[in-house]
């Protein structure tokens, strides 16, 4: 998954989101060792300080664990990853529902539309 950074939002928040996505998608599995700050920064073509800041926040949230001598790993707490993943999903759905509401859809109508689309995708 390549890094995709938009120009109108803080870089570190985007880095956090994208590392989270990598954790949720299994690209960085539970317990896996993370590349060094410098390697990650170079890979994303961002400033190492910015990457550091993003990792510090992930660490604060508990998704990433820093070991004093051996770098950083992804948490092995699968439950915590699941929770964070669900939280992100809820955010996305809330955003989506808000947009649908702006377009004039009632919640029930939205749900019917989704069900219908899923049915069609099955075929």
């Amino acid at each position: 998954m390549p890094w995709d950074l938009k120009s109108d939002r803080p870089i570190y928040t985007q880095l956090i989101e994208q590392i989270e996505l990598r954790i949720f998608s299994g690209q960085y599995p539970p317990g896996a060792k993370l590349p060094s700050v410098r390697d990650l920064a170079q890979d994303a073509s961002v400033n190492p300080n910015t990457m550091q800041r993003a990792l510090a926040k992930l660490e604060e949230d508990g998704l990433v664990i820093t070991h004093r001598t051996s770098g950083r790993t992804i948490t092995e707490d699968i439950e915590m990853i699941k929770q964070a993943k669900n939280h992100l999903a809820e955010q996305q759905i809330a955003e989506f529902l808000e947009k649908m509401q702006l377009m004039g859809f009632e919640k029930r109508e939205t749900l019917t539309l989704i069900t219908k689309m899923l049915e069609e995708m099955k075929k």
């Binding site: 120009s7 109108d8 870089i11 410098r38 300080n49």
Partner: protein, 232 residues
């Protein structure tokens, strides 16, 4: 964090023209800083003052607490906007030259980077393309383990792919205690790697901020803000 570069009421006048018109500035160690401003705003003058190529008309500029001179040149690695290398020299000769000149110069680093860019060290400088010449110059500057890198328009003359390589070179070669100051007007290309930006307008500071602060507070890129501040 300690200060690596400090200006207090720094003034440089050329006749009646105030190229630098009273700048107060403190730059910390461990930062990558963009010195951004339109042509003629005073960016190069500030960098030249920091390198003892110009002397202030008034005020002070201090590097690691010292006035620019022999001592500060040992810790400052400077990329001028124009090349000063001799065209007849071969790349490896220039590397030897630098190794003689600067204690902190690491030839192996330079050869490594040349190899990655497929530049032959046995080639004479004059036989290289303009872009490759600029790359050689940057490689020389970044192969020093300096405390302060002053890069005057490092990406002006190279293509976008080489720009990415140059930025990568800057990120991967500076150490955590070193500061890199990059002067440029090609902002969108470099804002991802900057910690802080300083906007220079008519020889004065128009704004200093961190990149993420600008994006956070104004909801726009540094490039977009620059276009707004310096609208013609």
């Amino acid at each position: 964090m300690s200060v690596i570069l400090e200006c207090s009421n720094l003034i440089k006048s050329f006749g009646s023209n105030h190229a630098v018109a009273g700048i107060d500035l403190k730059i910390q160690r461990g930062r990558i800083v963009g010195l951004l401003g339109p042509n003629g705003s005073g960016k190069t003058t500030i960098i030249k003052l920091a390198n003892d190529l110009l002397t202030p008309t008034a005020g002070d500029i201090l590097i690691n607490g010292k006035k620019p001179g022999v001592e500060t040149k040992k810790i400052v690695s400077y990329l001028p906007e124009k090349t000063y290398l001799n065209n007849w020299m071969k790349v490896y000769q220039i590397i030897e030259f630098f190794a003689d000149f600067y204690e902190d110069f690491k030839p192996e680093k330079a050869y490594d980077m040349l190899k990655r860019l497929s530049i032959d060290p046995k080639e004479r400088l004059k036989n290289l393309s303009k872009g490759n010449k600029e790359k050689v110059q940057l490689i020389l500057v970044m192969s020093r383990e300096a405390q302060l890198y002053l890069l005057d328009e490092p990406i002006g003359g190279v293509d976008p792919a080489a720009r990415d390589y140059i930025l990568e070179t800057i990120i991967s070669n500076y150490s955590e205690n070193a500061t890199v100051i990059i002067s440029t007007h090609l902002i969108s290309d470099i804002e991802k790697i900057l910690d802080d930006v300083i906007f220079i307008k008519d020889g004065q500071i128009a704004l200093t901020s961190s990149v993420d602060n600008i994006r956070d507070e104004k909801g726009k890129s540094v490039d977009a803000l620059f276009r707004e501040v310096f609208k013609c």
